[in-house]
């Protein structure tokens, strides 16, 4: 009897786990948790969980004839697995909020690949379509950074300022997710803007302006000379995937 109940509970949890994964893929919320390249894997796992639930549920009936049904089934294992399912279904899917920058820090140059990347894809994008990540990548991997000076910039991100910046500067930042939210890294570009001090820290803004170079600690960094900075709603997909 104990085993029978255990099997049913196990089957229920498996089914819920599978349905949770599949429903998050269906709604697109899965991208608030993991990089898109893992979605297929998670989809297959979701299907596998549903199939396993079916097998376990069928076993509920057949196993009662067998001798081991007197053995008590460990319930605590099952309770543990209900934690992600309940958190998943009950806590609304929300992206990592920019307040996490305080814990994680922000980087102005993440060398996203140590090899010289082929930047032709990024170069073929119209300058105003490039994201914060695209610009930082272009800068890391281009030999001639002067070619970008004066190009129009149109990026969206959250406002971040810290002691390293002057009063007329702020950073426009985005989180990048390589694997899952656990490795979220904030990337930021410096923006030159006279009214930087009045911007709401961590609020989302759209920055339009021209690109320029700034020398800092002996390195050339991209800086945006802002022409307009407007507050916007957080984008539906707040992360950038390298």
């Amino acid at each position: 009897m104990a085993l029978r109940v255990g099997r049913s509970f196990q089957a229920l949890l498996m089914a819920l786990l599978g349905l949770f994964l599949l429903s998050r893929i269906w709604s697109g919320d899965i991208l608030l948790y993991i990089n898109q390249r893992f979605v297929v894997l998670v989809f297959l796992a979701g299907l596998a969980f549903v199939i396993l639930a079916q097998v376990l549920y069928a076993e509920r009936v057949s196993s009662q004839n067998e001798e081991e049904s007197t053995k008590s089934f460990s319930k605590s294992n099952l309770w543990w697995l209900s934690i992600p399912i309940l958190i998943g279904f009950l806590v609304p899917a929300r992206p990592l909020s920019p307040t996490a920058v305080a814990n994680r820090g922000i980087s102005i140059d993440a060398p996203l690949s140590a090899r010289i990347e082929d930047t032709s894809d990024l170069l073929s994008l119209s300058p105003t379509e490039r994201t914060v990540l695209d610009w930082i990548r272009l800068f890391s991997f281009s030999e001639n950074q002067q070619q970008f000076v004066g190009q129009p910039v149109d990026v969206t991100g959250f406002v971040f300022s810290d002691g390293r910046l002057s009063e007329t500067q702020f950073m426009v930042g985005r989180f990048t997710i390589t694997c899952c939210v656990a490795d979220a890294t904030a990337l930021g570009m410096i923006v030159e803007y006279p009214q930087a001090a009045v911007l709401k820290q961590l609020g989302w803004v759209r920055v339009q302006g021209k690109l320029d170079l700034l020398e800092r600690d002996g390195r050339m960094l991209p800086v945006i000379l802002a022409e307009s900075v407007e507050a916007v709603a957080p984008p539906a997909q707040p992360y950038l995937f390298p």
Binding site: S72, N77, R115, A182
Partner: protein
């Protein structure tokens, strides 16, 4: 039906875990409920806002780790089920080379054929050892497989290319895994190393119709065999899954409340930087298939040795792996499995920092 028989609850781990999940579940739900009420009624009370924000970041990180790792854990338990059903102990032992040193070395390279990360290698390693593969071989496999496998080789190459770090990562991992594995050659009593099979796994394992017990019975059909693989896989998924849950909970807690910036500002010296990045590897608990991309982010601010240590030690030991180790091995063994690779990594990486650069 919820009571645990004394025979089942062996050791401190069992006693704690018997009631802990319900307590944690209740606590998490209460906090989530308060945070949700704050969002619905839009109360602008400062500590509630902090709580609400922390809760949503916490659950994002927790679910991120869990969703990412669950498919790999399932792959590992499916592999374990396949080994259980389709290999008899005699067949498996025959595959192990006679020379013990050769066997341990091959154990370190076995990951090339089982491309699993740390969540998957632990159930598989335990299965192999219980089926008669010598413990040193199993431990070499356990420590090396998360790195020495085709997926991780590809992702490390994508991140670092043909650089010293790429080659050193695999060389050092193999060296440490085989070294630690060889150490276990001196302990001949397996029960001193591995915890006995617990009864809560018993239901499906008791079927055991592959070989010995009932030589007269007809061998089960392929369909029955596959059903058994699936049952073993799901039982093991639940058994190991709880450590994934606890590991992800702890990692998410630390990521929400312990500033990484603080940790990163601690050390830049040739030795301190190695210590800091190995600690960070444990805290982050990211899967070995992607950690090289994360290591890249540190390569501009940290020494080569420290980045290498992150790549070598992280896949061997992190929060969720440690909890799974506690399930499989005796506590003494777990301490060895955590400390010895750490010391070896530290020595090798510090040496690289001090003399090679």
């Amino acid at each position: 039906m919820f009571k645990q028989t004394p025979a089942v609850s062996s050791g401190w781990g069992e006693r704690i875990t018997a009631h802990l999940p319900v307590v944690i579940l209740a606590g998490v739900l209460a906090l989530a409920g308060i945070a949700r009420l704050q969002q619905i009624f839009n109360w602008q009370i400062e500590w509630l806002l902090v709580l609400s924000d922390g809760m949503s970041n916490f659950s994002a990180v927790f679910l991120g780790i869990f969703i990412e790792a669950a498919p790999y854990l399932l792959l590992g338990t499916l592999a374990s089920g396949l080994v259980e059903v389709f290999f008899s102990p005699e067949e498996l032992v025959r595959l192990v080379p006679r020379s013990r040193f050769l066997a341990v070395g091959l154990g370190g390279l076995l990951g090339l054929f089982f491309p699993v990360c740390e969540c998957g290698s632990i159930p598989l390693a335990r299965r192999l050892m219980r089926k008669g593969v010598p413990v040193p071989v199993g431990i070499a496999f356990l420590l090396a497989a998360p790195v020495i496998n085709p997926i991780v080789i590809a992702s490390t190459f994508a991140a670092f290319g043909n650089t010293p770090i790429f080659w050193l990562r695999f060389a050092l991992t193999l060296l440490i895994a085989v070294g630690v594995g060889l150490l276990f050659l001196f302990e001949t009593d397996m029960s001193q190393i591995i915890r006995p099979m617990n009864a809560d796994l018993a239901p499906s394992f008791h079927l055991d119709f592959g070989h010995d017990h009932h030589p007269n019975e007809q061998s089960p059909s392929l369909k029955q065999k596959f059903k058994k693989v699936l049952l073993i896989a799901s039982d093991e998924f639940f058994e190991m899954g709880r450590f994934l849950v606890v590991g992800a909970l702890l990692a998410a807690l630390m990521q929400t409340f312990v500033p990484q910036t603080w940790l990163l500002s601690l050390g830049q010296g040739p030795i301190l930087s190695v210590i800091v990045l190995t600690l960070l590897a444990v805290l982050l608990s990211v899967c070995s298939t992607v950690d090289s991309f994360i290591a890249l982010a540190f390569s501009s601010t940290f020494s080569t040795g420290a980045v290498l240590a992150f790549l070598v030690y992280g896949p061997m030991v992190d929060i969720k792996a440690t909890l799974m180790y506690l399930r499989v091995f005796r506590r003494k063994t777990v301490v060895i499995l955590i400390v010895l690779p750490w010391l070896l990594t530290l020595v090798a990486s510090a040496a690289i920092n001090l003399w090679v650069r």
